[in-house]
């Protein structure tokens, strides 16, 4: 259903290429990459580095959306986990800090998964609860202050580099590889696509849809936790009010740009990450071009609309009134 995008992702890569070229025309040194102190520097690396949190979120989000779900809480989960990491960083060893922050993300994911799979609440409502309450919880952890830390180990996760690449980029690549291995290396990906395509038929075919639903929300929570840790480590502190604010929308946007249908079904993790890079490349481009950063939102809105219209089941078949009636009857209510 609604699989109009080629799996190769030609259109997404083309879009990324066009945006990068536009950036290059605005700022001729855009593609320059230099090595300094064993680390790569340049606008291109900057796009990768700044895009890392949204890319991390989109890795979890794409699985949730493939299951016909949505996770609105990832921004708030980022704030919670960032707050935990920042407040523990100076008094505990790094493994403890990471375990605590990732554990919190896992719990948040479990909560969402429980509401969706066990209580049967619509995903958008179920995750709304944590989206509203989560930021309050994060402020509870930081006691309403902006918590700062000096731990060099945690700071390394945000500002350090591994093999010349910034650590956030390496972490994102690692998470992406791990997810691809788990999802595509096993039948899990197939089961997710089947459940997203038709939950009832999949359950009847013997797929443990409830367990998989909980698992994808947990994974989304873990990705959000990692993104929160990276964001905290980057600014050497946690700001419960602003950490991850509106990033859930960017993550959803990245997934949609990546060609995964909001109606569930087939998905692509790689293209969701490409989607995140497209968003970041646009942000960077607007900054480089000297336009006020305020234009950013308008540009984003236009891009969402363009991508949506291209994805629309109606486009192309606008004349076929009967066909539309048929697709409406079979798609089982495309409205959320």
């Amino acid at each position: 259903m609604a699989m109009r995008f080629p799996r190769l992702g030609t259109s997404q890569l083309l879009a990324l290429g066009v945006i990068l070229l536009a950036n290059w025309m605005v700022s001729p040194q855009f593609f320059d990459i230099r090595v300094q102190d064993g680390r790569l520097f340049g606008s291109l690396i900057d796009v990768l580095n700044r895009g890392a949190p949204v890319a991390l979120l989109s890795i979890g989000m794409v699985l949730v959306i493939a299951m016909r779900g949505i996770d609105l809480s990832v921004g708030a989960v980022m704030a919670i986990c960032g707050a935990i990491a920042a407040s523990l960083a100076d008094s505990h060893a790094l493994p403890v800090v990471l375990a605590a922050a990732l554990g919190a993300g896992l719990l948040c994911g479990l909560w969402n998964g429980f509401l969706v799979a066990v209580l049967g609440i619509q995903p958008i409502v179920a995750t709304l609860i944590l989206m509203v309450a989560g930021r309050g919880i994060a402020q509870l952890i930081t006691e309403g202050r902006i918590v700062t830390f000096t731990s060099p180990q945690l700071a390394f996760l945000g500002g350090g580099s591994v093999l010349g690449l910034p650590t956030p980029v390496v972490l994102t690549l690692g998470m992406m590889a791990l997810t691809l291995l788990v999802v595509r290396g096993t039948a899990l990906g197939l089961m997710i696509e089947a459940t997203g395509g038709n939950p009832r038929a999949s359950a009847l075919a013997g797929i443990g849809t409830k367990l998989i639903t909980v698992a994808v929300y947990v994974w989304s929570g873990l990705c959000a936790a990692l993104a929160g840790i990276v964001a905290s480590a980057d600014i050497l502190g946690a700001d419960a009010n602003n950490a991850g604010l509106w990033l859930e929308l960017d993550a959803i946007l990245a997934v949609v740009i990546g060609g995964t249908s909001l109606f569930g079904g087939r998905f692509s993790i790689l293209l969701a990450v490409v989607g995140a890079l497209i968003i970041q490349a646009m942000n960077t481009g607007i900054l480089l071009s000297g336009f006020p950063p305020e234009t950013n939102l308008v540009v984003k809105a236009v891009v969402v609309l363009a991508v949506l219209l291209a994805q629309s089941p109606r486009l192309g078949g606008a004349l076929a009134g009967l066909g539309v009636l048929f697709s409406r009857a079979t798609s089982g209510g495309p409205r959320r």
Partner: protein, 330 residues
């Protein structure tokens, strides 16, 4: 009679929670139980109630509108610029912005309807667009000094003890009443419920689904624009970052008010009570003085969860009782 009471259970539950909360607050703080606190509750939350009324229509029809907060922000900035810089008379500016909002909502509704896209993502794009447009207009906080504004903020029904029923509160009450009439007593209202029940069946019944959908989102945006006008009256200024996240408060209020997020069921008055409960929590926190404002978010989240769990339970019980007699005839 009993059946109609049963239908109202969620609203009654919300009303009970509000009354219980009010009584508890009054027991802790003797000054709480005064007309003045109640009137302030109405004034401070007027814009949120107006948005929640529009959101109730959208949610009952099975949709969602994430753009309302941004529309409020855009409205306040537009009014400030129109009145102070462009010299448009305030009343003309009000009409102009409401027409703009109507067009904006109609466009979103048309895209949702004719391109068969999820309302969630279309209104998300609308949210970016409206917020971005208000940033483009101005990123500063602009004061509004027009005579009408000073006059309107002075104008109020005064009661004993310093309680005032302000113009925003009056507008809000009028919107709630009008919304109740529109939803519960007109054909349009019946169509909104039908849409939330089943779009396909509604279309087959001969109801104009497209027209109703476009009208619902138009109504929601117009009410968001009206909320923006009220907000600018309340603050006497326009700021592009005002009302960030109001869409979430409105959705939360609608759900706490007993409206089903899957559509087909809900009441305007419930949404009004939902906003009042949120306002009550804020007022309690400001009375306490020691509690931090983030407790409001956690409390709202907990309430949301409680009411949604309650909804699921009633739905589950209703389904079981419907299934039971069917099972008796094999």
């Amino acid at each position: 009679m009993i059946r109609s009471l049963g239908r109202l259970t969620p609203v009654l539950a919300t009303a009970a929670v509000f009354l219980a909360g009010f009584v508890v607050c009054s027991l802790i703080y003797p000054n709480f139980a005064s007309l003045r606190v109640v009137m302030n509750l109405l004034t401070d939350n007027a814009f949120l109630v107006i948005v929640a009324v529009g959101m109730t229509f959208v949610i009952i029809s099975g949709g969602i509108d994430l753009s309302v907060g941004s529309v409020i922000g855009f409205t306040t900035v537009f009014l400030a610029l129109a009145i102070e810089r462009w010299g448009i008379p305030p009343l003309a500016a009000f009409v102009l912005i409401l027409v703009l909002c109507a067009l904006f909502g109609a466009c979103m509704g048309a895209i949702i309807q004719y391109f068969e896209l999820p309302a969630f993502i279309v209104t998300l794009a609308g949210m970016f667009l409206a917020r971005g447009a208000s940033f483009l207009l101005s990123t500063e906080s602009l004061p509004i000094t027009a005579d009408l504004y000073a006059h309107l903020s002075d104008h109020a029904l005064r009661f004993e003890g310093g309680a005032r029923l302000t113009v925003p509160a009056m507008i809000m009450i009028a919107v709630v009443l009008a919304g109740m009439v529109l939803l519960h007593l007109t054909r349009f209202g019946a169509n909104v419920y039908a849409l939330g029940g089943s779009r396909t069946a509604t279309g087959l019944m001969g109801i104009n689904v497209a027209r109703t959908t476009v009208l619902i989102y138009t109504l929601s945006s117009v009410l968001a624009g009206l909320a923006g006008i009220v907000f600018s009256l309340y603050t006497s200024s326009g700021y592009s970052l005002s009302a960030v996240g109001v869409e979430l408060d409105a959705i939360a209020a609608v759900v706490i008010g007993g409206t089903l997020l899957s559509g087909g069921y809900g009441f305007i008055f419930g949404s009004f009570l939902g906003v009042m409960i949120q306002g009550l929590i804020q007022t309690y926190i400001s009375f306490d003085g020691m509690l931090s404002s983030w407790w409001a978010k956690i409390a709202t989240g907990l309430l949301l969860f409680a009411f949604i769990a309650f909804q699921q339970l009633t739905l589950h019980l209703a389904r079981r009782s419907r299934r039971a007699p069917a099972g008796a005839h094999p």
